[in-house]
Subunit: 190 residues, 2 copies
């Protein structure tokens, strides 16, 4: 069977989060997984193929937890808050966002894996903002897509600020700023 295959993928998932793509060396993957060179190149074409497989799995997990957070049982404005309130490891960074400044993000194989998930986020957030506007919880003068991208940017930018400062506080505070801004917009739009 392919017990080593799974071990390799899991090790790659960890290392992609900890170090990113370029700094994820096959050697480190082998060490972390307990597999030998042969297993890696038997199951995968190479580093990029392994990373692609690992990223697909990571993406599936991220998408699932995102969709769960935006489950339409609560009012739209609460779902936006829930998105902001998603528990996140500010100092480790976003598993996908951290790849954004690597060369790998322009790779034709790897880019869609990351990009398609963000497109999904953007669409769902935009629809949710629009719904909140219909509910009278956000001003209709705002463009839904712009607010959606703004919220996604706050999360991604929060990671950046926290990593630079080596402190969780900037992330937490940026998120709190976003939530209180939403609330201030909300109370004035009725």
């Amino acid at each position: 069977m392919s017990s080593k295959r799974e071990a390799l993928i899991n090790a790659a998932k960890d290392l992609l989060w900890e170090r990113g793509y370029e700094a994820m060396s096959p050697k480190a993957v082998l060490r972390a997984s307990g597999a030998g060179q042969g297993s890696l190149y038997h199951h995968f074409e190479g580093k990029r193929d392994l990373a692609a497989t690992a990223l697909e799995e990571i993406g599936a997990g991220l998408r699932e937890s995102f969709d769960k957070r935006l489950d339409p049982s609560k009012p739209a404005i609460k779902r936006l808050e829930a998105y902001l309130d998603t528990p996140r490891e500010a100092l480790k960074g976003c598993r996908f966002g951290r790849l954004s400044h690597e060369q790998a993000i322009a790779d034709p194989v790897l880019n869609p894996i990351v990009g398609d998930l963000f497109t999904h986020f953007e669409k769902r957030l935009t629809a949710t903002v629009r719904e909140a506007q219909k509910d009278g919880d956000l001003p209709t003068a705002l463009k839904a897509k712009e607010i959606a991208l703004m919220l996604a940017a706050i999360v991604q930018g929060g990671y950046v600020l926290s990593r630079i400062r080596q402190d969780e506080a900037p992330f937490t505070q940026a998120i709190r700023g976003a939530k209180s801004a939403l609330r201030a917009l909300s109370t004035n739009s009725t």
Copy 2:
């Protein structure tokens, strides 16, 4: 004299922006600067020292243009908009923000160079938000520091989203969302 020294620093500045720290190889710096190995290791202790020098210069430039943008001749709320409206190359990324997910950001020599500038940004933005509140242009219920970090995060996150999507639009739209949100908050706070 040290004409090669300047050439090395300038090449490093370019490469740090294009590729980041880890991917900036001394060999590439030499090629781009036209200098030989000897010059590099004569003027600098090594790659890290060269990068530190280059980052200091980059940081000085960023600080100057930031301070110019927030010059207190205009009302505070306009200065916040001017900050958001700073011309930026969305697809190249922030010269400092792009380092946030590299190991180098935790380096005791390099981190302060980047971190101190962001601390400066945060302080100045916070003071500006507070001033806008006093002017009656933003709700006093908001915490100035949180809004300041939120704005900085939107810029940094905009870069991330644009790089992931390989498209300037997400950056532009996130910024537009922030500006219209500020305006919506502004018209309601008087």
